[in-house]
Assembly symmetry: none
Homo-oligomer: 419 residues x 2
C-alpha cells in the first residue's frame, strides 16, 4: 500500500517555515508499513492544490494532506478535497459544539468564519482535534483515500497518533523497521566497497550508507508483519556488518552519538579526560559536555588560543613554538602532555590548527590540523588536512578528535587493530 504526502501552505513555498510535518508524516507512514514515493508542497491556491490532489490520487492509495484547514479565506484544503472527491460540505454537529465550547472556555466570541471549520465533506470520518478548532477528515473513495490534517504540529501530531495511525494500521500490510549501525575511522567509499555484495544483493532487508562528519552510518531496513518479525530479519545483517567492519563500528543503537560512545568508553575504563583546544576553541569540550552524565569523567578543559596561553597554561616550550610553530606535531604533543599534567586526567587531547579563512601558507595551508591524544602518558599525534570554511574545518577537527580518542583508548586497553 502506498501513501503520498502533500503539505499545503504559502509559508512553506516561501521557505519561511521548515517543513517538519513532511518529515513527521513520512516517518509515521514508513513505520506503519506504507511505502511513500512522493512528497510535495503547494501553496494556498485552489487550482494548483486540486491538480496536486488529482495527481496524487492517480498514483497512491492514501493521500495525506496537512494545512489549509483554518478559518480564513486562504484555507482551501477541505473545499478542494471535497470537490475532487465529488462531495458536498455539510455541518458536523460534534465539531460545531466543540468550537462553541472551545471559544467559551477561552472567554472569546467566535467570529463568523470560525463556523466554517465545522463543515466537513459528506460521508467523511471526522477526527476530533483536542488542541484546536479544525477537525481532521478521512474521505474514503472507491480507489483511494484522502486524509486531511491541520497544519500546526501541536494539532497535527496528537491527531495523527490518536486517530490516523490506528486507522492506517487497519489498512496497512505490516511495518517497516530500521536499525542504524554507526562506524567511524573509515570513509564511506571504503565501507561501500566492503559491503558492495550485500548492497547489490539487497531486497529485504535493505542496506544504505550515509556519510556524516567523521562517521559513516549504515541503515538496515526490513519489512514484516510486526516489529518483532522485522527485528528478527535485521539481526543477522547487523551481525554480518559487525564481522566485516569490526572495531570501526562504535554502536548499533540509533540513539548513541559518537561523543556518547567516547564518554561510555571513558566511563567503562574509569578514565578522566581533559582537552586543550586552540583552533576548535572549546567545541570539543562543548560536544563532550553535551552528553548527560559526563561530569564523572570530564572535570575541566582549556582553550589556549594564543601562544602565550599555550606556554603559560600548558607548559608548551618557547623553543618548540619558535622552532616548529604553533601548528605543528610537536606543539600538539606538548599540549596533550601539559593538559594531562595540569588536570591530572588519564586522557588528554590537544588540538592546534589553521581554521582560516586567513593565515595559511604553502607549507601550512588553511585546514592543516594536528590532534594529539595522551592515554596514561602514551601520546599519539595525527596530522589532518581538512577543507571548507572556518566552521567546517573546526567541526571536522572535533569529530576527528573524538575518533582519535576512541582509537587510542581502544588500542591502549585491548590492543584492537583497525583495518
Amino acid at each position: 500500500m502506498t501513501a503520498e504526502i502533500i503539505c499545503v501552505g504559502t509559508e512553506l513555498l516561501l521557505g519561511e517555515v521548515v517543513n517538519t510535518n513532511g518529515a513527521y508524516l513520512a516517518q509515521q507512514c514508513a513505520q506503519a508499513g506504507l511505502s511513500c514515493y512522493y512528497q510535495s508542497v503547494v501553496g494556498d491556491n485552489a487550482q494548483r492544490l486540486e491538480q496536486a490532489i488529482r495527481t496524487a490520487l492517480s498514483r497512491s492509495d492514501i493521500v495525506i494532506l496537512s494545512g489549509g484547514l483554518g478559518p480564513t479565506e486562504d484555507d482551501l484544503t477541505k473545499e478542494t478535497a471535497a470537490r475532487v472527491m465529488g462531495r458536498e460540505l455539510v455541518t458536523d454537529e460534534a465539531s460545531r459544539r466543540w468550537i462553541e465550547e472551545y471559544f467559551a472556555k477561552k472567554g472569546v466570541q467566535p467570529t463568523d468564519n470560525n463556523w466554517k471549520q465545522a463543515l466537513v465533506p459528506e460521508g467523511a470520518l471526522v477526527l476530533p482535534n483536542p488542541n484546536g478548532t479544525a477537525p481532521g477528515v478521512i474521505l474514503e473513495g472507491e480507489k483511494a483515500r484522502i486524509v486531511l490534517l491541520p497544519g500546526p504540529p501541536h494539532e497535527l501530531i496528537p491527531m495523527f497518533e490518536e486517530s490516523v495511525l490506528p486507522y492506517l494500521r487497519k489498512c496497512g500490510p505490516g511495518v517497516i523497521y530500521s536499525q542504524t549501525v554507526k562506524a567511524c575511522d573509515i570513509g564511506e567509499s571504503r565501507v561501500e566497497s566492503l559491503l558492495m555484495d550485500l548492497i547489490d544483493a539487497q531486497s529485504d532487508p535493505t542496506i544504505a550508507t550515509y556519510a556524516k562528519p567523521g562517521e559513516v552510518h549504515i541503515r538496515v531496513t526490513a519489512k514484516a508483519e510486526s516489529e518483532k518479525a522485522a527485528r528478527k530479519k535485521i539481526k543477522p545483517v547487523v551481525k554480518e556488518l559487525k564481522s566485516r567492519l569490526g572495531a570501526h563500528i562504535y554502536t548499533t543503537e540509533d540513539s548513541v552519538t559518537l561523543e556518547r560512545a567516547v564518554v561510555d568508553l571513558l566511563l567503562a575504563n574509569r578514565l578522566t579526560v581533559t582537552c586543550a583546544e586552540s583552533c576548535t576553541g572549546g567545541l570539543l569540550a562543548a560536544r563532550l559536555i553535551d552528553v548527560p552524565g559526563v561530569s564523572e569523567v570530564f572535570k575541566s578543559g582549556l582553550v589556549t588560543y594564543s601562544n602565550k596561553a599555550k606556554r603559560r597554561l600548558l607548559g608548551v616550550k618557547k623553543s618548540t613554538l619558535e622552532k616548529y610553530g604553533a601548528v605543528s606535531e610537536q606543539t600538539a604533543r606538548e599540549m596533550a602532555r601539559g593538559a594531562a599534567f595540569l588536570s591530572k586526567s588519564d586522557v588528554a587531547v590537544g588540538i592546534t590548527g589553521l581554521a582560516g579563512p586567513d593565515g595559511g601558507t604553502p607549507e601550512k595551508p588553511v585546514g592543516l590540523v594536528y590532534i594529539s591524544c595522551s592515554v596514561k602518558g602514551e601520546i599519539t599525534v595525527k596530522e589532518y588536512r581538512f577543507t571548507g570554511s572556518r566552521s567546517t574545518v573546526r567541526g571536522a577537527a572535533v569529530s576527528a578528535a573524538l575518533v582519535l580518542m576512541r582509537r587510542c583508548i581502544l588500542e591502549y586497553y585491548s590492543k584492537v587493530t583497525f583495518g
Copy 2:
C-alpha cells in the same frame, strides 16, 4: 519567472531527515524574485525522479534539484537530469583535478566510484564545490534550466550563494533586495509593538520580524529594477528602525553575527576577553573563536565543569560553593573575578547553570543559569530561567552571555542606557 524545487533522497521520503534544503532554497528563490509554486521530494529512484523532472520542466522556468550527486550507486540525479535533457555525461577536467587534490590533501586514495563525481552533462556550466567532491551543474535547455546541487547543507549553501545566486540574479526580471537589522536585549513582542504602525502600513518595502535565540531580526525587503534602487527604498526605513530601537540594534549588516559585534566592540575598546564556563562547557569560547581575527582579543578560556576545577583554576571559595552551591549568583561572580585575574583579561564572563535533563530541584530547576560579566573589575551577575532540552538551554545561555557582555561593555564606556 518561476522556479521549482525537487529534493532527492530516500532519507527524506522516510522522514529520517527534515528537509531544511527545501526551506533554504525556497527562501533564496523568493528573495531573488522568483515565484515558486511547487516543491517536491522524490527518492533515489531513476524512473520516479525522471517523471518528477519532466513534470517540473513542463510548468517552471528553473528547476532546482538538491541531493543525489554523491559517488555511490544510488546517487542518480546527474544521470537522470542528463537523460531528460538529452545530454551525454563527459569528464570535467577541473572537477577531476579537484577530486584528485581533495583526496591527496586528505592523504586518502580515491576509490573508483569517486571519479564518477567528475562526470557532468555535456555543455553544462560546472559549479565548484569548495566543501566536497560533487560539483554543481547548471543545464540550460531551450525552454527551461536545471540546477543540480549537492545534498549536504554545508556544501549546498556556499555553492548556492557563490555560484547560483549570481546566475539567478542575471535571469530574473528585477531584484528583490533585503537588509536585516539585528537587535538584542529586547523581546520580539516588544519590537513588534514598537514597530506596529510601520508593519501595518507596509507594502514596499515590507518589514518582518524573526525571533532568534537572544536576538530579534527585522528584515526590510524592497522590490525594484536594480539592487541600487532597492537599497535606496530601504534606507529611510532602516533609519526609522534605528531611531525607534536605539542601542538594541547591534548591526544593520546581514553578515554581522552577534559574536562578531561583540568581538568588534572588544577590538574598538582594545579589550581582551576570557570566559569560565560550566554548563555551557566551551560553547561560548567556541562561538567567539568562530569570528576570524578574534586572536587579538581572546587569548585563553577555561571549562570548569567540576567544583574542584572551579576552586583550583578560578579560586572560587570552598565556602561559597558549600553555602550557595555551584549554581548561584555568588559562584558566578567569583568565576568571573577568578577568570579575569588568572588571564589578566579586561573582560571576563562566568557561566554556571543546570542544563539538565537531570539534577533539578524545586528551588533550582533545570534551566536556571547565572551569568556574570566583569569589565575592568566591575562585575554584573544576572539570573536566567531557560526552558527546553539540554542543548537548547546551553545555546540560550551562550546567546544571553553575548548579550550581557555587549550591554556591560557599552554601559561601562558610554553609559548607554537600554529601554
